[in-house]
């Protein structure tokens, strides 16, 4: 019996899912013991990127709207959290209020971006969204004069961690003989959020709205002829995708404790897009896999530096540059050899027709 069948089998599926949950719960402790704490941080961040990639997947994968400025929503969420929970304005609102607020603000920005671009398709939309992302970044960089709002390129420091009452995730806790350092705490929070995101994505995919998105992606004209209100449904895709990004942004700000416009560049938008494309546009599990792979693999390249030292007697290629080179190469090869992604979405035969996402 193969593994996929195990998850579908009526008797074994609880056992199989239980095993998955156990592995995920034990993962940070095993990782810390084997690879060290920096890797716990990396898998925590990868969960954050799962949320981001799934948010973008709604826009690109489901609705077929190519968005190259997605990181702007992440930035909006992060800055909404950071500004209202840091010494910047000396306000410290609770995260239970701030995360929904950040999501709502990001959704508004999503609609702001979506509304004027509704008529555009494919590559034009890509460029406009790219411009939107850059505009947000330029404003974040320059809104320190004449009134200091974002603190400009220096960014915002000392952002509050997630905390409730006296319990803060930024402290080390002990429970049942295990030590939970801040990274572990955040790992579990992110794990819950990522699981919720996955569940939400799956439910959306099979919902009336989800099917409307796919219909628009495959043929907008036919979709509108079938009575789908394409304007509202597309706006909803932008807003929903932005919401995910906004929540992830708020979590990111609290996790890092520091944010600056540097973290929200075009290359980050492209990175998230690559996670979606690499995993398989539209396939929730594939996109989650793509996010984890693309966060973890480049980190592994850090070991290349010392290796070069040993083999060539010097660092010939800066690992960060090498990472970008491989990244560009992967994009090109992926499109040439396996354009549908590592784990392509299974489409119903009847709906195959026009696979043009542009």
């Amino acid at each position: 019996m193969n593994i996929a069948a195990l998850f579908n089998d009526r008797h074994y599926r609880w056992f199989a899912w239980g095993a998955v949950v156990l592995v995920l719960l034990a993962l940070p402790f095993i990782t810390e013991a084997v690879l060290g704490r920096s890797w716990v941080r990396i898998i925590a961040v990868s969960l954050l990127f799962v949320m981001l990639a799934l948010g973008l997947n709604i826009v690109v994968g489901f609705a077929g709207l190519l968005d190259l400025g997605y990181i702007a929503f992440f930035a909006v969420g992060a800055y909404s959290y950071a500004l209202l929970a840091s010494p910047q304005f000396a306000v410290h609102w609770p995260f239970l209020l701030l995360l929904p607020l950040g999501a709502a603000i990001a959704a508004v920005f999503g609609i702001l971006l979506g509304a004027p671009t509704l008529r555009l398709r494919g590559d034009y939309l890509a460029i406009v969204t790219l411009g939107f992302g850059e505009i947000i970044r330029v404003f974040l960089n320059n809104l320190n004069r004449p009134v200091n709002i974002t603190n400009g390129p220096q960014g915002i420091t000392l952002i509050d961690p997630l905390q409730m009452g006296g319990f803060s995730l930024a402290q080390t806790h002990s429970f049942a003989g295990l030590t939970f350092s801040p990274v572990h705490n955040y790992y579990f929070v992110f794990l819950v959020c990522a699981a919720l995101t996955i569940a939400l994505s799956l439910r959306l995919q099979n919902s009336r709205i989800g099917r409307a998105w796919v219909a628009i992606r495959d043929d907008e004209l036919a979709a509108s002829a079938m009575g789908i209100n394409t304007r509202n449904v597309k706006l909803l895709a932008f807003a929903m995708g932005a919401t995910f990004g906004g929540v992830a942004g708020g979590l990111f700000a609290s996790f890092q404790g520091f944010i600056s416009p540097e973290s929200f560049q075009l290359i980050d938008s492209i990175m998230v897009l690559c996670m979606v494309v690499l995993g398989g546009m539209g396939n929730v599990a594939g996109v989650a896999l793509g996010a984890v792979l693309l966060t973890a693999l480049p980190e592994a390249l850090r070991y290349i530096g010392p290796l070069q030292q040993r083999w060539f007697g010097g660092v010939l290629v800066d690992p960060a540059d090498l990472r970008m080179l491989l990244f560009g190469l992967a994009l090109v090869l992926m499109m040439l050899l396996r354009p549908e992604g590592l784990w392509p979405v299974r489409r119903r035969q009847a709906g195959k027709g026009n696979a043009d996402a542009g």
Binding site: L66, R119, F132, V138, I270, V277, D321, G328, L329
Partner: protein
């Protein structure tokens, strides 16, 4: 008044460079319907190759015009070869693929070019050796340097030559035929593959000249310089009507002027609240406005399907 004249001059000169780069975008888009994201980076490579040649020959004692011709020629050859091979390896296999695939490939190629350049030239800003002592001409209270004048005139000459070439030559006719309908053009005996390859070569070579102009104008080169330049040139192409060669020229000049005037006056107009550090925003604002209000651009045909 003299500020206005000065910004107008600066805008026209910068705009003529944008227009040269925009030609590469618009020709490829016209024929393939592909936004060649890597075109800005091809221009960057051209600029850095020219810069390297100039640095290497600076001590040779050749007169400046000869140096510039060698540097420009070298950059054109490298860029033409680059454009040709990118088309062959990355874009040709995807010609019948869904539209998203070539676009993502183009982004990948762009990243590849940027970081290959970072490997070769490093990530620091590279300064141009002192070659020319530009003298300034006084026009209506504004300064026009001979360098600016030369850039502007050369750009105009290239654009005029290109327009003439596309309108009259045999290859130009083949390009127009392929643009209208590649399949029918093929049936009429046009070798569309070589026409498309030629378009890439031509666009890249013109991009190389634009790259040389940029480093002469700003005096520095950088591995990331192609990104903004490419975006602005693309905006110029859209502004003029993408796919329309004359439109790219008009859009480039217009965008240069808009950007110069806007960043020159934004401080006064907003009472010092917004500074010229918002300069890069204008290109995007123009882009969004054009796409929303008139997606076909100034000179483009009304074609609802494209946008």
């Amino acid at each position: 008044m003299d500020i206005f004249a000065q910004q107008l001059i600066n805008g026209l000169v910068l705009g003529s460079i944008y227009a040269l780069v925009a030609l590469g975008y618009t020709m490829v888009y016209g024929i393939l319907g592909l936004i060649n994201f890597a075109h800005g980076d091809i221009t960057m490579i051209g600029a850095l190759v020219a810069l390297t040649i100039l640095q290497g020959l600076a001590a040779a004692g050749l007169p400046a015009p000869v140096l510039l011709v060698i540097a420009g020629g070298g950059a054109m050859i490298v860029c033409a070869a680059l454009g040709l091979s990118i088309e062959r390896v990355a874009y040709r296999p995807l010609r019948r693929a869904p539209r998203l695939a070539p676009l993502i490939t183009a982004i990948g190629v762009s990243i590849l070019l940027q970081y290959s350049a970072a490997l070769v030239w490093g990530k620091q800003y590279i300064a141009l050796p002192k070659l020319l002592e530009p003298s300034a001409i006084d026009i209506a209270g504004a300064q026009l340097t001979t360098l600016q004048l030369a850039i502007f005139l050369l750009a105009c000459a290239i654009m005029a030559a290109l327009l003439w070439f596309i309108k009259t030559s045999r290859m130009g006719r083949a390009m127009r035929a392929t643009e209208q309908n590649p399949d029918v053009a093929g049936l009429m005996g046009v070798n569309t593959n070589s026409v498309i390859a030629f378009t890439f070569v031509l666009g890249s070579a013109i991009g190389a000249i634009a790259g040389l102009m940029i480093i002469l104008y700003y005096g520095i080169g950088h591995y990331f310089m192609g990104f903004m330049l490419g975006l602005k040139a693309f905006t110029a192409a859209v502004l003029g009507g993408i796919g329309n060669v004359g439109g790219a020229v008009l859009g480039g000049l217009l965008l240069g002027v808009i950007e110069s005037l806007a960043s020159g006056y934004i401080g006064d107009l907003s009472g010092g609240v917004l500074g010229s550090n918002y300069r890069d925003i204008f290109a995007f604002l123009v882009l969004v406005l054009v796409l929303v209000l008139r997606p076909s651009g100034l000179l483009g045909q009304q074609n609802g399907d494209r946008a």
